[in-house]
């Protein structure tokens, strides 16, 4: 008896004893689809609500100066772009084709993870830069009505808080998202490498 026959015979002895019913499987597929749809709806509602609140606040200010409007637009751009990037609301950037060959699929996964890593790294900087510049411009109109000391105090405190949050968020982002992403990319690259080894 050859080893191959032995291995094949042993291999075929393994069976899933409880094959799930197709109805159960399709129910699971339906609930997964429903959960994805609900998540997308919630994310879109949050996005629309944020835009509506900021626009509402901005439009209700009397005697607006251009700096107020520009500041508001920049803050709005910061929040909207951050929400879009972190919630992966641009599916075409993260779409993968599971029907391709393993080599193609691994390359796709590596590309997607790299995009993810880039967005995570860059978006946090874009978000805080836009937010700080936007806030500084937005406050010009109001600080002109204050005494110089109060205006400086307000700017220093607010920008210091934003800077601390920026530094802290970057550290958190690196620990929670970028490091695991890097690890996944390394493992995927190692798997891709295995295919080319003889």
């Amino acid at each position: 008896m050859s080893t191959e026959v032995d291995l094949k015979a042993l291999w075929n002895k393994e069976e899933a004893k409880d094959i799930p019913d197709t109805k159960e499987l399709l129910k699971k597929a339906g609930s997964l689809r429903k959960a994805a749809r609900i998540r997308l709806i919630i994310q879109s509602v949050v996005l629309v609500a944020v835009v509506a609140i900021l626009l509402g606040v901005g439009l209700n200010i009397d005697h607006k100066q251009p700096t107020t409007t520009i500041g508001l637009v920049l803050m709005l751009a910061a929040i909207v772009s951050y929400l879009i990037a972190t919630n992966q609301l641009l599916p075409m950037l993260f779409k993968s084709n599971i029907e391709g060959s393993s080599q193609e699929y691994l390359n796709q996964l590596i590309r997607i993870k790299r995009k993810n890593e880039f967005l995570d790294k860059v978006m946090i900087n874009i978000y805080f830069s836009l937010l700080m510049v936007g806030f500084s411009l937005y406050m010009v109109q109001f600080s002109m009505k204050m005494s110089a000391a109060w205006a400086v105090f307000l700017y220093v405190i607010t920008l210091a808080c934003l800077t601390v949050t920026w530094v802290y968020s970057r550290r958190w982002e690196i620990k929670k998202t970028i490091k695991p992403l890097n690890d996944t990319i390394k493992k995927l690259e190692a798997m891709n490498e295995q295919l080319h080894e003889q």
């Binding site: 291995l7 291999w11 499987l25 597929a29 599971i98 699929y105 798997m191 003889q198």
Partner: protein, 156 residues
């Protein structure tokens, strides 16, 4: 071929490939289910450019490769032996040993040998993996040698 027929004909084959990859009964069942959900979604778009089996095994193999993202669970191959045996007392020890040896191989080798043992033609394995047939033949030979050595040590 309708979904129900595919499901009945391929469930055990897909399950075994997933078992070879993770050597964990529940995890393998989850991956097999995810694979069939993907098949169910993609089936209306399937244009018969490839044989249905090749297409199904491609989705199953890619689903296995995706498991790298699921790091919260430990492959059975890394579990202490007594735990693995405690979970599956009614499995033939030789069968358990084979699946454990396969799950200890590099990820892509696990898929290649699983497909080979599932009687998939080497030309089809080459299409599934995206490699040449010669490459697959060399790899299958090398993996079988490795497994044979492990079995020789196991028996003595």
């Amino acid at each position: 071929m309708v979904f129900d027929e595919i499901y009945k004909a391929y469930w055990n084959k897909v399950f075994r490939i997933c078992m070879g990859y993770v050597n964990d009964h529940d995890w393998a069942k989850d991956i097999a289910q995810e694979t069939f959900i993907a098949i169910w979604k993609q089936l209306p778009k399937f244009r018969q450019e490839a044989a249905i089996g090749t297409w199904i095994f491609r989705i199953a193999s890619n689903n296995c490769l995706r498991q790298i993202e699921r790091q919260n669970r430990m492959p059975r191959a890394e579990m202490p032996e007594q735990i693995a045996e405690h979970i599956a007392p009614d499995r033939d020890p030789q069968v358990q040993f084979l699946y454990r040896c396969i799950a200890e191989l590099p990820e892509t080798d696990r898929l290649i040998i699983s497909l080979e043992l599932e009687d998939v033609k080497q030309a089809e394995i080459a299409q599934i993996m995206g490699l040449s047939e010669t490459n697959i033949r060399v790899k299958v030979h090398r993996i079988k040698e490795k497994l044979t050595k492990k079995f020789e040590n196991y028996e003595h």
